[in-house]
Symmetry: C2
Subunit: 358 residues, 2 copies
């Protein structure tokens, strides 16, 4: 049941991921699904039914129509990446706050157009990276910031792979140049890049260099690639992403005094709790101790935590005259910048790309 | 107590690592310590006492002298890397079998001289990489070769780091250009490279490219570096090694159907057992299951398994007229080749190095 304090969200597009986020909107105490749009009224209607949308949900048969709906505060936009710039700009111009699926755009130039439109219209934008909203992530950051237990970061390695089946590799929008044309890099790589940036307090690397051996499909879409990142002071990182290898979701961060490992950083093994392990000052000359495991309970699934945070920020703007929070677009932009640099390096035969001044 | 069937090993040099290997020789049922040499008789004597050498152990005050000892079958050589070529060649020429510490040489050209001398004199050579002799390693290989549980290898990431203290970073032979001049790459990197080669059935990569951001000391010795390796068919690997980061010893291998993780591959957390985890056909759309843990009991510590295998091969030659086993020098050579390529890439500003024809 919608209440006055709930942020009314419209779902713009009926992608697979919209099912998970629809459930999350339903679970978030401060948000409600107010409308859904597809390019056909029929499709929107059956999506609403299949996903237990409230009776009151308005059904729109076009994206234009949902933008004009005065009874929604915000839009969740899971459209193919190539459509983000057009529809996110239009949404901002209509004063709708935006929860935008990742990758946020085909490149940072497109994303900057979205940000300009959001700033001009005073709307909040946040990308759909769920895992950063898991309560576990705050504890990971706490460990990584601990000068005693972790020390200074030296390297962070992150990877996200899953094995797409024949149908996926032939038909999914993530392998189509005109749709989610950034392929495995924009999809899986986005998460790994976000993890390396998070471990580096979102300081951009100095250089990004893709590994020789990226796999592209016949249409030129990346199916698998990796890259190394380096910072001025000697910190390094590697990322790896693939649609061709068994599901693996790792963060290994190594500091001068400690090591952090997460094996399920994108989708935790359990919905109600999430774990990670840490080692501190492991000495090689004495016997090596196994790492300690830490478990964090999660009140809501991480995607509902994401919606709750987004709706909280929108509520602050709507009800209390607050300004949009600049943190979320700033980390989206940095993630996109590194995605772009990896792609550029792959395109330029694995040349080292400098991020200075970007 | 020495028996007739035991291989009589001389320890040539009293490095720190020689303590661990001396204990291993004592533990191996088919080997015994017969002699020890240092550049001074005093040092050799006190090393023998400190390490509970048998009363009968002959004490040599020079390396030349132990080479002439007719009552030893083999030499364990933990000398600084820069001395390997000289003393291993001399040992081979005296008909002594050689257990040689890693890295086996300063470069593959030097190692080839050692191999030529070993072949000419019919002696066995094996390098001192202990972890490959842990019974766990056979099970890792079994999983990696399993077309159902693991599928085809897509990528393997391995790292070995430990934080050297101030004294280590100033005085250890591993930071001195004239001694173990390959630094962290020859020491820690050796293990990570061996792990990536093992996962690739010792097929050499097509290219090796160091990551920008290697850290060298003022004398030009590598303290920290990483590299990506790529194979013709799209397989990739990364290695990372460092003297500047908390102790971490990881292998993550990802195949089309499975994932393998080892967190203590170089020195297992326990001496009597060793573990690893595997996941198979983890599906992203259903709920993700945690990996399964596998534990392998070890009858002897892995370093004693190494000595036992070395002594077994020497015994076959000595007692049964067998030929030296070519597998061990062949994998030493391949590991050294990749070490050399990473160093070359670092030296050439992170240029991609082709291994074709090497």
């Amino acid at each position: 049941m919608a209440t006055d304090t709930q942020i009314r969200i419209g779902v713009m597009g009926c992608a697979d991921i919209a099912r998970k986020v629809s459930r999350a909107i339903n679970l978030a105490p401060n948000a409600t699904i107010a409308a859904v749009a597809s390019r056909s009224l029929e499709k929107a209607k059956s999506f609403a039914t299949a996903n237990n949308y409230p009776e009151s949900t308005k059904i729109h048969g076009s994206y234009e129509s949902i933008l004009e709906d005065p009874e929604i505060d915000a839009l969740y936009v899971p459209l193919p990446t190539s459509l983000h710039v057009e529809w996110a700009v239009k949404a901002a111009e209509k004063g709708k706050h935006i929860l935008l699926e990742k990758p946020v755009a085909m490149n940072v130039t497109e994303f900057d157009k979205i940000v300009v439109a959001c700033e001009a219209n005073g709307v909040q934008i946040m990308d759909g990276t769920m895992w950063v909203h898991n309560p576990r992530t705050a504890l990971l950051k706490e460990f990584l910031s601990d000068s005693e237990r972790f020390g200074q970061l030296k390297t962070v390695q992150s990877c996200f792979s899953f094995a797409g089946d024949e149908d996926f590799l032939k038909n999914d929008i993530r392998v189509k140049p005109g749709l989610d044309g950034l392929g495995a890099l924009g999809d899986a790589g986005w998460y790994a890049i976000r993890a390396t940036l998070l471990a580096n307090n979102f300081e951009l690397p100095k250089t990004v260099t893709a590994f020789p051996g990226a796999v592209l499909n016949q249409a030129g879409v990346i199916l698998s690639c990796g890259a190394s990142l380096s910072w001025e002071d000697g910190r390094t990182a590697t990322i790896y992403c693939s649609f061709l290898a068994n599901l693996t979701m790792e963060i290994t961060a190594i500091g001068t005094k400690g090591t952090l490992r997460v094996h399920d950083f994108i989708v935790p093994y359990k919905e109600t709790e999430a774990s990670f392990t840490t080692s501190t000052k492991a000495l090689f000359n004495t016997w090596v101790s196994p790492p300690s495991e830490h478990t964090v309970k999660t009140e809501l699934p991480q995607e509902a935590c994401m919606v709750r945070e987004f709706a909280r920020l929108v509520g602050e703007i709507k009800n209390n005259g607050a300004k949009p929070d600049g943190y979320w677009p700033s980390i989206s932009r940095k993630t996109q910048l590194v995605v772009d640099a990896v792609k550029e390096s792959v395109d330029k035969n694995y040349q080292q790309i400098s991020l200075s001044g970007r």
